[in-house]
Structures are given as structure tokens and as C-alpha cells.
């Protein structure tokens, strides 16, 4: 890294920029106001010649800070990919000429817009430094797999195949998890007609034969500390013997627990041994071998069985599960087939509300069940009554709208699953948050990972006890970097999906440990080398950054200062936005880099009738939405100045108050959707920003400014028309309420 900053500003004249803009004027501005050391224009900057011109300046002229005045930062990233320099992009194409009409009237304001973006880009790069990895951790290829069910086993086998040693920690005495209790599994390949072998034995054999896989049975993880690339885990056996080992990444495949059927007294569970759960029926079939399956109560060969789907599930009753567990319909079809195979002429009735057989072959399997004579009845079972030697099932037929009764030998309850996701870290009363660094670490037996993270011992949950993992954009990716959730701990699913899930999670875990070794970020900013640091002298130990970090990346050191773990960080900057004393920064993204952009824009006099609207747009969704608006020929106000931010969570309120003090007439913040169905790439960033901005009214009041001047929106990537509308509405609002009095 060169000691002196030498700024090179390169202005493109291609894509109509040369015709629409006065590039000579922009060149003058870059030199005089932007203080760029080298300023050049090029007819076609992103072609080989243009790129070579910049590279030559880097190599021969010592240019190390680059301003590219061309298209949006989302375009031509591969062409303008220069190493070991700080780059700032002035968005003259999507941000200026494409969203402005090509008319003589608009020429003046369009040129002003372009000039401002050049000023802003020069100001930004002036305050950027060239990021470099911290070197906090090296390459550790070992993978810790928590849970030895089929997801865990798949993960270990896949990791080993890819050349990464895996260690499985299994709580029970054997591998296989829930699938080991099954007689057969739902078919996962064509023709999807019959139950097939579980494959557990083959997987166990593969693991035993693999020297790259270590298995700890009867063991739990009693302490996990560190970060991707340098996790340290204590693995403790039932007897108390502890092994400590280091790992690069973790896959949590801790599976599920059956819903407790004792909570369903209406189905006579517990009152008679002839009402069983799906898992108990598997045990009965196993016991019977290939012979006929007999009832537990009197040993009678079962001649009729009725399956109650959604027992205690998909219901808003107290104590019931609100969700569909995803596997039980197919499992009931499978068990009905197994019964029919063993007990000739056994009547099998499946009482369903909505039959759901996920997966490519699900429908074929359902059809196969029908062909084999399994009866499917769309009905709601209300009660099971044991009556001399048989069971009377009362139900309401939903097709015929009729109350009916059936008399059967056996009732099977499809009860569903509850994720084994450990302790609820949001429950502050529990002994699971804020490890006091001065105290000794106490193990919590309910916890899966026993993380020593300041934010809590386990993965944060989103809803219904499932580990939070962005299921639309980034499945497996939890809110703890380097720890990937696979299988039903993440969302309800069946075995086929769990295997797929485990494979995906393992690939992500490998990527994570490789990235950690080089100090690069993982999703959604893969390859980013910058990481947050703080100025210790300024820190007031308020701990807001440690609390607000969506990924729990920040711990507390012995002196109670925040302790940043580079490889746990996703580089969203939420800590930077949170810090009340503004001492947290990234090398290339800081309070200064954005703050100086805001200040660098030219502020016309109040009577020029040229208001200024600052748009702080999330670079993941809102900024692309604005770019797309430009591509689609929409137009927005020439008074807007858009500044991309990593996440709305990184917006420090100082930017807003500085902008208001500096004379901006309106401020628009564009982030992502923030509720339970959030779309924020950093999960909590947008939520944090919305909370912070709800308090901006005080600032406005002290400045005697109207509340309408600052507005926060949730924008999806598809909302380009809306972004345009929002900006234009802000212009109208300013016309109504008048210009800001703070222009100097």
C-alpha cells in the first residue's frame, strides 16, 4: 500500500455520456474541487484500451485511488476490477443521463447532477483506505458437524469427499438419528412407488471406513468459541471426558424432536396402546419383522388402521404447532403401504385436510398409495374413543359435510416435528446471554453449541423455534457466520430435503473456512477484505455495537471494550450505524467516506429554486431498483443525489443531521423489508435503521424543520417504479413546504 494517496479520475465519454454531458467541465471539477492528481477522459473507458490506460497509471504513475465517472457500480465490475487500489464510482450513466430527459431545458440540471457525482466520488475515495485482511486466522480445513442423523452424516461424507476432514458429535449412542428408527424411507427416486431402504446402514459403513471422519458418540458440544477459521469446541462425553479441538467451520444438523402426543388427549393417546405416533408404528412394524403387525393391547393382527394427519399441527390452538411439518403426509402413505404389505387386506384410511407430498416424486408416491388401495378421506378427526376391543374415530367429512364414525383397530397420529435449535437467546431471563468475560463459563445442557458469543449460546431463531436462515436468498446461512444450519433445525422438511440441505450447508461451510483463511467476507459480500475497527480512545463502552450486530460478531474483551472478530463479520456496517460516538469504521467505508460525499455536493442558494434531495439507498435492493428504473427509461428529479450504502443499518444518524444542517431539503432512506418475512441481506440492518430513524423527529424539531423532510422506505429490488415515485413525491413535498433555511 502506497503511503500517499494519489487520486486518478477517469471520465468515460461512451454510452452517450460524451454527447449529453460537458465532460471538459467535469474534468475541471475533478481537478479543482475533487483535487484529483490525474484526470483523464476516454471515449470508451470499459474497453481494453480504457482499462489499460487506468492500469498504466496505477503501475507507472503511482495512482492508488481511482474515481471512475462512467456507469453504475453494478455495471462493468469485471472491467474496472483493479487490485490494491481504492475505487469509487460516479454513476453518470444510470444515475444521470438515463434518468433525465434529453432536452435542452434539462441540460443545466443534468450537468449539475453529473458534476455533483464527480465531486462526491472524489470526496469518497479521498477518505478511503485500501483494505487488507487482519490475519486473525489461517486455514483450518476441519469441519465440525453437530448431529449424527442423516443430515449430519451426509454433511460429514460430503465434506470428506471434498477433502475436508469432518468430526461428528452425536448426543445418542448411535448414528442415524430419526431415520435409524424407520423401517423404510419415502422413495427418493423413480418410480416413487414403494418405500425404500433407509440407507442409514450404508452411510454408517461409509463413515466408519473413512479415516477423514471422526465420530464422537454420546457426546455434546459444551463450549464453542472463536470464529470461522479458528473455532474451538469442547466435546464432552456423557461421562464428562472433554476433548478440545479446533475447526474451520460448523454445520449444525441437530434435527428435531417429535411433538409430544400426550398433548392430544382428544385422540386418546396414552389412554390406550392402540393409539400410536408414526414413530411408534415404525417400531411395531420393526418388531413384527416380515410377519403381520399386531396390536399392543391384545396382540390382534391389525385389520384396519386410520391415520390422523396434522395431529396437533397447522392449528392455532394453544400448545399446537402452527406450521406444517412437511414429511408426515408422505410418511403416513409409506406406513400404510408397509402395513398393507404385512397385513393382507388391511384397511388403511388416511384422514387429511390438505395432503402435501413435497418433492419431485411426491405426487407419484401419493398416486401409488391410491393404487395400492390406501383410502384417502378429506376429513377432520375430532375424537378417538376406545370401545370394547376397537377404536371409534369421530370425524367430519369435509367433502360431504357430514359427521361420520369409523371403527378401526389402530389409530396413528401424524404429530410433526419441533426443531432442536437450542436455547432461545432472545429470552434474556435464561442463563444464556452476555457471558461475563471475567466469570467462568457454565455449560447449559439445553444448548446445542454453547457458544461463548456475547449475544448468546445458540443460533438466533426467526419463528417457531427454527434457526433463522434467510430462506429465500441464503438458505443454510444462519446469523452466526461460519455456522450453517442443515435439516429440520432450519425449517420443516423430510429426509430427501435434509440430505440436499446438508450437502448445500457443507459446501457453504467449506467456502466459509476458505474465505476466513484469506480474510474475505462470505455472503452477501464475498471477497470483501474490509472489516470494522474502532478507535479505542473514543469508545465509551456503551456496547450498542455488540448488541446490534445482526451476526453476533462482536464480543467484549476483558477490559469491556468491543472485540471484533473479522471472520464472523458480514461487513454490513450495522455497528458503524449504531455507534453514537462514530468511532467504528471500515478501511473503505466509514462515517467519513459517506459524510464527505454528502458535504461534497454543491449546495445552491435558497433562492435558486434548486432543492437537494439526499437518497441513502441500500446497495443490495434499492440501488439496483434505481438503476433498473434508469434502464427502463423512467425519470426522477434532477435534484436527487443518491448515495449507496452497504445496508441501511450502516446509516449513522450523523449523516442525516449533517445533511439537514448542510442545507439538504429532503432525505430519503431506502432499505429492505424488515419484518418476519424480511428481505434485508443482513437480516436486522433495515430494522435497526427504521428504529433509529423513528427517533430522527427530535433532530428535526431542534432544527425547526418539518417532519416530512426525512422519510424511510422499504424497497424491494423490483420496486423501481416506486423508487422513482418516492423521489418525485419528495420534490413535490419540498415545493409545498418550502426550501430548507440551512443553506449557506
Amino acid at each position: 500500500m502506497a503511503d500517499e494517496k494519489k487520486i486518478g479520475c477517469y471520465i468515460c465519454k461512451g454510452c452517450g455520456l460524451g454527447e449529453r454531458l460537458d465532460t471538459d467541465e467535469l474534468e475541471t471539477i475533478a481537478t479543482r474541487e475533487g483535487k484529483a492528481n490525474v484526470v483523464k477522459q476516454h471515449d470508451f473507458l470499459c474497453n481494453a484500451d480504457g482499462v489499460k490506460m487506468i492500469q498504466d497509471d496505477i503501475d507507472n504513475d503511482g495512482v492508488n485511488h481511482i474515481v471512475i465517472g462512467a456507469c453504475s457500480r453494478r455495471s462493468k465490475a469485471e472491467a474496472f476490477n483493479f487490485q490494491n487500489v481504492a475505487i469509487s464510482r460516479a454513476n453518470l450513466r444510470e444515475g444521470v443521463i438515463w434518468i433525465r430527459p434529453d432536452e435542452p431545458d434539462a441540460q443545466e440540471t443534468t450537468q449539475e447532477m453529473a458534476a455533483d457525482y464527480i465531486r462526491m466520488a472524489c470526496a469518497e475515495t479521498k477518505f478511503q483506505n485500501i483494505p487488507a485482511a487482519s490475519g486473525q486466522q489461517g486455514l483450518n480445513k476441519k469441519l465440525l458437524v453437530v448431529g449424527g442423523g442423516i443430515a449430519g452424516m451426509t454433511s460429514a461424507i460430503e465434506a470428506s469427499k471434498a477433502g475436508y476432514p469432518a468430526t461428528i458429535v452425536e448426543k445418542t449412542g448411535k448414528l442415524g438419528g430419526a431415520m435409524a428408527d424407520m423401517v423404510a424411507r419415502i422413495p427418493n427416486r423413480s418410480p416413487y412407488a414403494d418405500p425404500m431402504d433407509t440407507g442409514v446402514a450404508a452411510m454408517i459403513a461409509a463413515i466408519e471406513a473413512d479415516s477423514n471422519i471422526t465420530v464422537h458418540l454420546n457426546s455434546t458440544v459444551t463450549k464453542t468459541s472463536g470464529a470461522p477459521g479458528r473455532f474451538s469446541a469442547d466435546i464432552t462425553t456423557e461421562s464428562g471426558a472433554t476433548t478440545t479441538d479446533n475447526f474451520g467451520a460448523i454445520v449444525q444438523a441437530s434435527g428435531f424432536t417429535d411433538y409430544d402426543a400426550n398433548q392430544l388427549p382428544e385422540f386418546a393417546y396414552g389412554k390406550t396402546p392402540d393409539v400410536v405416533t408414526q414413530r411408534e408404528l415404525e417400531a411395531m412394524i420393526k418388531e413384527a419383522g416380515d410377519g403381520p403387525v399386531k396390536r399392543k393391547s391384545d396382540g390382534k393382527v391389525i385389520a384396519s388402521a386410520l391415520f390422523v394427519q396434522c395431529a396437533g399441527q397447522r392449528s392455532d390452538k394453544e400448545g399446537h404447532l402452527s406450521y406444517c411439518s412437511g414429511f408426515c403426509c408422505s410418511a403416513s402413505i409409506k406406513e400404510a403401504m408397509l402395513l398393507k404389505d404385512r397385513n393382507a387386506d388391511c384397511d388403511t384410511i388416511i384422514c387429511f385436510d390438505d395432503l402435501r407430498t413435497p418433492g419431485a416424486g411426491g405426487e407419484d408416491f401419493y398416486r401409488s398409495g391410491q393404487k395400492k388401495g390406501v383410502t384417502f378421506t378429506k376429513s377432520k378427526v375430532s375424537e378417538v374413543v376406545p370401545a370394547n376391543g376397537s377404536l371409534t374415530v369421530k370425524m367430519h367429512d369435509l367433502i360431504l359435510n357430514d359427521d361420520v364414525e369409523a371403527s378401526v383397530d389402530l389409530v396413528v397420529l401424524a404429530t410433526g416435528l419441533i426443531a432442536n435449535s437450542g436455547v432461545d437467546i432472545d429470552d434474556k431471563s435464561a442463563e444464556n446471554v452476555a457471558q461475563d468475560p471475567t466469570q467462568e463459563y457454565k455449560v447449559n445442557v439445553d444448548s446445542i453449541l454453547n457458544l461463548t458469543y456475547r449475544q448468546g449460546r445458540d443460533l438466533p431463531k426467526l419463528t417457531e423455534n427454527f434457526a433463522d436462515s434467510h430462506f429465500i436468498c441464503f438458505p443454510y446461512e444462519t446469523r452466526r457466520t461460519g455456522i450453517y444450519a442443515a435439516g429440520p433445525v432450519r425449517r420443516p422438511m423430510d429426509a430427501a430435503q435434509a440430505i440436499e440441505d446438508a450437502t448445500g450447508a457443507t459446501m457453504k461451510a467449506i467456502q466459509s473456512l476458505e474465505h476466513a483463511a484469506t480474510g474475505e467476507a462470505v455472503l452477501p459480500r464475498p471477497g470483501d477484505l474490509s472489516f470494522p475497527t474502532f478507535r479505542k480512545e473514543g469508545c465509551t463502552q456503551c456496547k450498542r455495537c455488540t448488541v446490534e450486530c445482526p451476526f453476533g460478531a462482536i464480543d467484549e474483551d476483558e477490559q469491556r471494550y468491543p472485540q471484533y472478530n473479522e471472520s464472523r463479520c458480514r461487513r454490513c456496517g450495522t455497528c458503524m450505524g449504531a455507534c453514537p460516538v462514530r468511532i467504528i469504521s471500515f478501511e473503505n467505508y466509514s462515517v467519513e467516506t459517506v459524510g464527505q460525499q454528502i458535504k461534497a455536493a454543491d449546495m445552491p442558494e435558497e433562492f435558486d429554486e434548486k432543492p437537494r434531495i439526499l437518497v441513502l439507498a441500500c446497495e443490495n435492493d434499492a440501488y439496483p431498483a434505481l438503476d433498473m428504473a434508469a434502464m427502463n427509461g423512467m425519470q426522477y428529479s434532477a435534484f436527487a443525489r443518491v448515495v449507496p450504502v452497504r445496508c441501511l443499518g450502516s446509516v449513522n444518524t450523523i449523516w442525516v443531521s449533517d445533511a439537514l444542517n448542510g442545507g439538504y431539503d429532503g432525505i430519503i432512506l431506502m432499505g429492505c423489508r424488515q419484518d418476519e418475512n424480511y428481505q434485508c441481506h443482513f437480516v436486522k440492518g433495515s430494522e435497526m435503521a427504521h428504529t433509529r430513524m423513528s427517533k430522527i423527529a427530535d433532530t428535526l424539531q431542534t432544527l425547526s424543520l418539518e417532519e416530512e423532510r426525512v422519510a424511510t422506505y422499504e424497497i424491494a429490488i423490483t420496486d423501481s417504479a416506486r423508487t422513482v415515485q418516492i423521489i418525485n413525491e419528495m420534490e413535490e413535498t419540498i415545493q409545498k413546504i418550502g426550501m430548507s433555511p440551512f443553506k449557506f
Binding site: 391410491q370 383410502t375 378421506t377 378429506k378 367433502i399 360431504l400 357430514d402
Partner: protein, 205 residues
Amino acid sequence: MSDLNTAMVEKYRSNFLKEVEANVEEGDWVKMCMQCGVCSGSCPLGNAWEHPPQEIFMMIRAGKRDEVLSSSSMWMCTSCYNCIVRCPRELPITHIMHGLAHYAKRLGLSPKEQPTAKFAQLFWDNLSKDGRVNELKLGLALYFMNGFGEGIKTSLKMKDIGLGMVKTKRMNVMEILGGHSVKDKSGFHAMLKKAAEIEEAKIQK
């Protein structure tokens, strides 16, 4: 109750689905219905049906034997084939409806005053006599299906059309005296008898 009906009740006990599978044309498809209701929604006469096809299938599975067989529903089918075309499970619904109607008729359970059923009987009686449909007699039989007074009324209403048809030689009044028949009438009757025997044997097995 017919003897056959009693025998069938005896044979299949409570399992009406099995009875349908064994005795109704395309009846083994009934179990494949997934209750989506597309057939009921597609039927142009759906509103007029006592039980739309989806419901009929569910009733068969629920063992509602009498309700199904004495229902007028399957007699309402006009064979437009909309349901067959749309059924995601590819059930031959039209054929099953006709199969059910046929089976109900055989057991003597079909509704007595159902016009389609009545017309079907008239048509069969007319056709099986001479091997040719006597359109004049069939038409008149249809007019008088619901009593003498109604018959006269309908005849008067249709008078002009009838005369027009006679004028354009579309209808021969002489047909009333017996009409034309197939060349080998006894052979035709022998064929019908044999067919009835084969079907009888099929039911009995």
C-alpha cells in the same frame, strides 16, 4: 329389492368401493380421485346435479351405497367430456358416471322418475324391437312419457314442425304402422340374447 342387489350387498358387505371396482365400468379408477373438485367445477350442468362427480367418488369411498346408486346425479351426465379433459388424475369420469348409472339400473335402484333414465329405457325398447330406431314412435313415446294430457299438448305444439318434416320427406307417417327393421331380425335378437348372457355371467362371477 332385486335379487341381484341383495346378492351384491351380501357379497361386498361394507366395502362399496370394492363393489364399484369389480362391477362398474372403469370403477377401479374411483380410488385415484384426489378430491380436487375440478370435475365438479367443469361440469356445465354441475349446479343441477344432486352430487357432483367429486362428491360421488367421496361417497363411494365412504360406503354410501344406497345414496350413490339411487342418486339421479350420474343420469344428468350429457357426455360433454369436459371433466375427463380436465381431471389432473386422468380419471375417465364420464365413463364412470355411465358405468354407475348402468350398474344402478341393473340392480333396480335407479330413480324411477328420472327423465334421462326413462328416455334411455324408451330408446332401448324402441331399438331392440326391430334393430332400427323408429323415430316417429320414439318421438311420440317421448311426448306421452309424462301422461296423456301432456302428450296431446306437446303434440299440438310440435304440429307445424311435424308437418314440415313430412312435407320435406324427413318423416314418414306410415312408420306408425310398424316401420322398417333390420334384414335379419331373428339374428339380431339372438345377438342381443347372447350379449345379455355374457354380461349376466360376468356379474355372477
